[in-house]
Amino acid sequence: MKIKDGIGIFLAAFMLVCFSFPTGVLISAASDGDVIIIGNKNVPASSLSKKDIQNIYLGRKTKWDNNQKIIFVTLKKGEVHKRFIKEYVGKTSAQYRNYWKKQVFTGKGKAPKCFDAEEKLVDYVANTEGAIGYISSGTNKDSVKTISTN
């Protein structure tokens, strides 16, 4: 069996697996909707640059200006999560997940805590010193502070 048979094997196996999966929807742009950056009320920053937020969520900036540890949290999935990761971190959700798996499996870092629901994320940020997160504009955020971006 030579090269042309190899091509046949690969294509046959590929098609078999493809048709075994549910039909997927091609990745589309996130729908419109504001993403709000929130922080614990004792977080010293009231505004952050996009670069700061990217550095925080990639583990490159680990402390606030008052030397308090930054605890950044994420949503597990959904449009708000996708939009935040794309706009502020510059990655897709899959790329971001892999980035943190790389840190975890090389011992270089601890993956951020993630939440299924925005309300749970808000509760965690409200009760955790130094915490930062993001939610959609419609979610109640009375217990946390809103951090503007510039």
Partner: protein
């Protein structure tokens, strides 16, 4: 050792399924793990594993790690790892990494213990299949033979992330230490093949007749190893450029089988002096598209009591991957590897009675990746190969009659 591996895998699976399959926590200790099972098939040669011609399942990796933040600045962790690749490793459990990490500032931290070696974009993560699109990394830069040697370093490392303002940011790692290299792993097998070939051809030339010499490496001694890596996250979003360098000297004790000239088996010592290996890397990510290219070069002097032979290896690849849906990704790369950078067209090989195509390995790979869910990944890929460089005589006793050949690889991985 198989019993140890079975216990290891059982612990891994128990932790994974103990309560859901999210990352486990034991007290405040984080526990993560991965396990992958692969299949390799080659239509002509035994490559990587010694029984790929006809297909083999002796291709797996298992790892579990434990880590804990002791303070805001101090973190400790360790990872146990086992893998099998044909007749290599055989699921022997090793300490993959184990270090204390003092993160003093974002621009300066210190690690001490057994560290992963940053070399090229993907060396630190080459054991973790789920982090990439392809099953096999491009051999032009990530030689399988060097995998065990480049995987971990016992010593200390400085690291940090530095903001460069409008010029983006840079990440650096500097390491100093040494390493244990097993005398029956991939690099030993490659060196045995290289030395046997060199000595056989040298003696054949001297004696005017064909002489077979077998070299069996019995021990490696590695002096200090220096390693550094610099990555520049450029102002162009998604573009990162990097370079890494690896400096080492090591010795290999060997048994040299000279029964062909009635001298029996004699002891020998070979030195690999002034080894300098480096990579140049570029990766550009634009939404779901990732483009990457890397260049690899390694130079050293292979010395015995009487001879000193300079050796230069070279390789490169260009690759691309695109994620079409949440669960489906395609990737491709074209990788070129030269075991002798001064003989890229194979003329020297021809003079030694070898085929010219034994001077190169050119690999066109097409990979498909299916993310079944967050924890499970399945991959398949084809490799259309040109050339037989890095195929070992010991695994291919029938020689290398075919210039072009095909390899298929598949892998199912789970992580938590």
């Amino acid at each position: 050792m198989k019993k140890t591996a079975i216990i290891f895998i059982t612990i891994l699976m128990s932790v994974a399924f103990a309560k859901n399959i999210r990352a486990a926590e034991l007290g405040s200790v984080d526990i993560h793990g991965f396990i992958s099972q692969g299949y390799l098939y080659s239509d002509s040669y035994n490559y990587l594993a010694n029984d790929t011609e006809g297909g083999t399942f002796q291709f797996n990796e298992v790892g579990i790690n434990f880590s804990k933040d002791l303070t805001d600045e101090l973190r400790v962790g360790m990872q146990f790892f086992a893998r099998d690749l044909g007749d290599l490793n055989n699921d022997e459990v090793i300490l993959d990494w184990a270090f204390a990490d003092y993160h003093w500032r974002d621009w300066a931290g210190l690690r001490a213990g057994k560290l992963k070696v940053p070399f090229g974009l993907y060396n630190e993560t080459r054991d973790i299949d789920l982090l990439r699109t392809s099953v096999l990394l491009p051999s032009g830069v990530y030689l399988e033979s060097f995998r065990d040697a480049f995987v971990g370093l016992k010593g200390v490392g400085l690291y940090g992330d530095v903001s460069l303002g409008i010029m983006g940011g840079a990440a650096y790692q500097l390491q100093l230490g040494t390493m244990n290299v097993d005398n029956d792993n991939g690099i030993a097998k490659m060196i045995e093949s290289l030395l046997s070939f060199n000595m056989s051809t040298g003696m054949s030339r001297q004696m005017g007749t064909s002489v077979d010499v077998d070299v069996d490496v019995t021990d490696f001694k590695v002096d200090e190893v220096y390693n550094g890596a610099l990555q520049w996250n450029t102002p162009l979003e998604g573009l990162r450029l990097g370079s890494s360098i690896f400096l080492a000297d090591f010795k290999a004790d060997a048994d040299i089988d000279l029964t062909a000239i009635a001298m029996g088996i004699v002891d020998g010592e070979f030195e690999f002096r002034d080894l300098v290996a480096y990579t140049l890397s570029a990766e550009y990510t634009w939404e779901n598209l990732v483009l990457a290219c890397e260049y690899f070069n390694l130079e050293m002097d292979v010395c015995s009591d009487l001879t000193k032979t300079p050796k230069e290896l070279e390789g490169y690849y260009v690759g691309a991957s695109y994620r079409f849906t949440d669960w489906f990704e395609l990737g491709t790369y074209y990788s070129v590897a030269y075991p002798d950078a001064t003989d890229k067209d194979g003329n020297k090989r021809v003079l030694l009675g070898e085929k010219d195509y034994s001077a190169w390995s050119k690999d066109l790979a097409l990979s498909s990746r299916f993310d079944i869910n967050e924890y499970w990944v399945f991959k398949m890929e084809g490799h259309w190969m040109d050339g037989t460089a890095y195929l070992l005589d010991v695994d291919n006793p029938d020689g290398f009659p075919d210039k072009n050949w095909f390899m298929f690889a598949a892998k199912l991985s789970f992580n938590f």
